[in-house]
Every structure is written in structure tokens, then in C-alpha cells.
Symmetry: C2
Subunit: 289 residues, 2 copies
């Protein structure tokens, strides 16, 4: 095959998150115009984590793109739990604030679960409070965690059937693995959740018709972990020497699977796009615009 | 083999829920003696469901056994959502009430999710409010749904290792399947949740080292669904001509597996025992006795 043919084949199987993210943001922009009041996303950042700074900036930029307001509450690296929770309380009580996002991870001296659960569930845009996660668990939710939502949206965009399919999720973080496993189950997939204590991981991933990987280990999932014609979603963002790598060995894996999400340009942009959508949904729900 | 030998072998592999339930109740009884105030479990029952009447009676009886107080709030079959939620509100505000249990299922004109979420999370003894389920989901819980808790206790009683084991749960009800799948994951099992939309169920259950079945179909799981030397927990209670059957074909299955819970005498008694324990735990937590 010529290089052009190979390129065309690979192009056809790419789950293009960048494209979908733009679509979602365009929709939010159009829909937000019709609201009486501009929704406002407040991000809390604890200083001293450069990745967090990048993420918060990209969230602000996306707000601008979508015609939403944003503000950033900055707290020093050595801030106390009490001060952090006081800031959250202030944002809960501020009628101008639609949505509150606490940028994770927090420094180790702070308790993130406690802080998250100080956010009013009505403003919990990342859907990480107990109450909102419980709603996801029960299947009665308006919003779900952003990355997990983005993954489902990406699969749906490409008309990938989920009902009755065997899905395997590798990684059980609250933000991604555990949440997307639950959402896949709500779509009637048969889901297996794998994690660091899983034995014979390869045997299990090889059964997956849908494989979602979110472990944060550069190119850990090789071609021999993947069932032929599987759909592979790579959530990993591993930075090395200024380059970004996924959790999946893209080059080899793409020879085997039917669809695959690239890194970058796959799930990454969808997290922010779904955050915009969640902000809009909270505005719609709470202000009854 | 003589009948006696066969009987002895079967006896060795039985997960005896009755025995463990008695142990749990005895512990609650001993521990409750030390509380300043007797915990009170309030059960709400909507009249007209004979199975519910039996369950509520057995809960009252268990309270007596454990030295706990109980009361029953009876509402007529045609009660309204508003009246039901008003009763829940009254029990929330009643300082004498430690724990509130809404006996399920409700008649079809009532919304059980809405009613359950009117129960104060501090008194939600069945752990079914969004907030409490969210805590289970996150892994930060004091109590978990009773039947799911009972299953884990039963496995632990027999020193069955869960970490790294492949567990398959069949049935995704909130009360049992979905909850026990989450608890097994917290114990570091690799869990697959199967349900009515699962294809090739048999292929999946045959991979299970731990198999939990809660589908409410008499003897649906035959011997050929089961991996050799698996541990099988049967949560089914199917009544037919005055006899009770599990979801597993016990006789054939017991020839193949390492351990199996019988019906009756397996998980059934543990639900009530764990309800007693949860009532005690709520008393301890909320009254700081």
C-alpha cells in the first residue's frame, strides 16, 4: 500500500475528539445566546502546579469561545483546608456564579473529597459531590463527570453501538475510569472495571469490544492487549520531553482496531468542551432561563 | 460415596448465612447494650403487598432479638406521594427515630427514587439516598446497602480472598447487583456487571472466580454457567407453590463449585442482620453515644 492509502485508512478509524469538541462548543455558544443571563464558571486553583495552570487557562479560553463568563479564584500553595472551604462557601452563596470547578489535584496537605463536598450540588459542574455521583450511580442524572461524558459523546458521534457490547475500562479514578464504567453500563454495555490489582490484565482487555484506558502510563497497552476490530479510547496524557503520549501504543494498536482515539486530539479536548456544556446545563436548570 | 460422605462434602462448601446472621445480631445486641439510648428503626410500609408485610415483620422481630426498638408506619395502598413524603419528613424530624426504612417495592403510582431521597441521609439505614450511594461509589462510606453488605460479610467470613479475583455480578438492581459490584471493586476484585442486555452471559459467568447472582429467575444459572471451583452467591428468592428457590440450580452447581450459598439460609438472613447492624451504626454515629 502506498503511504497515502495507509494514511486514508488510519484517518477513517480516528475518533476525532477535536472536531467533536468544536461542535459541542459551537452548540453551547449558540444556545447560551438565548439565556437571559450569561453563565459564569468559577475555577479555584491552588498555586504551584504548572499542569493545573495550563488546564485552568484552557478552561477560561473555552469560556470565552463559548460566550460564557469565567473567573479564577487563586489560593496560595500553603492555603488551609478552612480557607479553601470558605472560598467554596462564598462561591456557593454568590448568585452570579453558575458553576464551581475545583482544579485537581490538590496539594497533599488538603483533603480533596472534603473540599469537593462543600461545593453546592447545584453548582458542582464536574459532578463530583456525593449527591451528584449518587445520581449518576442510580442513573438519574442531568450532568456527569466531564471526561466520562466526553468519552460517551465521542463513541456516540461515530455511531458505535454500546448496548450488549463487552466494554473494559482500565483505571478506576473517580474522574474518569469509575465514572465512564458507570455511564457505559447505563448505555447497556456489559462492563468490566480493571485496576492496579487486576491479574492477567491482557486476557481481560482482549475480550473488550470497547476498550477505555485511563491509567497514566505511557503506551502501556500494546497491540496484543487488543481484540481485533475493537474500539479503543485512550484517555492517557503522559508528557515526556515536551511531547504528549497516550496510554496506548497508537501505531501498533491502530493496525488492529476498528476505531481509536489519538493522543493528543482525542478525549483531551472533549473534557473542556463537556465542561462548557455542563456549565450551560447548570445555568439552564438553576436559573430556569 | 455413601450419602453421609456426600452430605459432609456439601456441608463443607455451604456459605452459611443463617449462622453468620446470628453472629451479627448477637454482636449488635451486645454492643447496643452499651448505648445510652435504645436505637429505634422506623419502617414505612404501604399496605397491600404480602411479601412486604412478611419482610417488615421479620425486621421488627430482629429488632426485638437485638434489643432495638422498632415502629411501623402504615399507609394505605392508595396513599399519595405527598402523604408518603410528609411521613418521611415527620420521621426525619423525630429525634427518637434513629433509622428510617421505606419497604420496597412501592405501588406503581408512587415514585420510589423521589421518596427515598426525602429520607435524611443520616437516617437512611438502607443507604439508598443519592448522597449515601455516592459515598459508596467514592469508597468513603460507613454503611452500604444491607444485602450487598451481607454478601461481602459472608465471603469474608469464609476467608474468601477477593483482591485480584475475577468477580461477575448478574443483575444490576440498585439494592443488590449494582451495589455489591461496587463493594467487590472496593475489595479490589476485578468486577464485571451483567444484566438483561448482556450477550453470551454464559461465556462471561464461566470466567468468574466469584459469581453473584441476583436476577429473580428460578434456577436460571445452571452448572454449565459456572467455572470449576468458583464461589457462588445466590441472592434469588423465588417462591413457587410454597417453596423457595434460588436463581442458581443448587444441586448441579454444588457439584462444580468450591463454595455456594443456599436458598433459603444463605444471603436472605444476612439482609435483616445487616439492617440491624446499620441501625446500630447510625445510632453510634449520630448520637455519639
Amino acid at each position: 500500500m502506498s503511504k497515502v492509502v495507509v494514511y486514508d485508512i488510519i484517518k477513517q478509524m480516528i475518533l476525532d475528539g477535536k472536531l467533536l469538541a468544536q461542535e459541542i462548543k459551537n452548540n453551547v455558544k449558540e444556545s447560551a445566546k438565548r439565556l437571559k443571563k450569561k453563565p459564569l464558571l468559577a475555577c479555584i486553583i491552588i498555586e504551584g502546579n504548572s499542569a493545573s495552570e495550563i488546564y485552568v487557562k484552557s478552561k477560561q479560553k473555552a469560556c470565552e469561545e463559548c460566550g460564557l463568563s469565567s473567573k479564577v479564584v487563586r489560593l496560595p500553595k500553603n492555603t488551609t483546608q478552612k480557607k479553601l472551604e470558605k472560598e467554596i462557601e462564598n462561591l456557593n452563596n454568590d448568585k452570579d456564579v453558575t458553576a464551581i470547578l475545583l482544579q485537581l489535584p490538590l496539594p497533599s496537605h488538603l483533603n480533596s473529597v472534603s473540599a469537593i463536598n462543600k461545593i453546592s450540588p447545584e453548582k458542582d459542574v464536574d459532578c463530583l459531590t456525593y449527591k451528584n455521583l449518587g445520581k449518576v450511580f442510580v442513573g438519574e442524572y442531568d450532568i456527569a463527570p466531564c471526561t466520562a461524558t466526553g468519552i460517551i459523546r465521542l463513541l456516540e458521534k461515530y455511531n458505535i453501538e454500546l448496548e450488549g457490547k463487552r466494554a473494559v475500562v482500565v483505571g478506576r479514578s473517580l474522574l474518569v475510569g469509575r465514572s465512564v464504567a458507570t455511564l457505559l453500563e447505563k448505555k447497556n454495555a456489559t462492563v468490566t472495571l480493571c485496576h492496579s490489582k487486576t491479574k492477567n490484565l491482557k486476557e481481560i482487555t482482549k475480550e473488550a469490544e470497547i476498550l477505555v484506558v485511563a491509567i497514566g502510563k505511557k503506551q502501556y497497552i500494546k497491540s496484543d492487549f487488543i481484540k481485533k476490530s475493537a474500539v479503543v479510547v485512550d484517555v492517557g496524557i503522559n508528557r515526556e520531553n515536551g511531547k504528549i503520549y497516550g496510554d496506548v501504543d497508537f501505531e501498533k494498536a491502530s493496525e488492529k482496531c476498528q476505531y481509536i482515539s489519538p493522543v493528543p486530539g482525542g478525549v483531551g479536548p472533549l473534557t473542556v468542551a463537556c465542561l462548557m456544556e455542563n456549565t450551560f446545563k447548570l445555568a439552564l436548570k438553576n436559573n430556569k432561563n
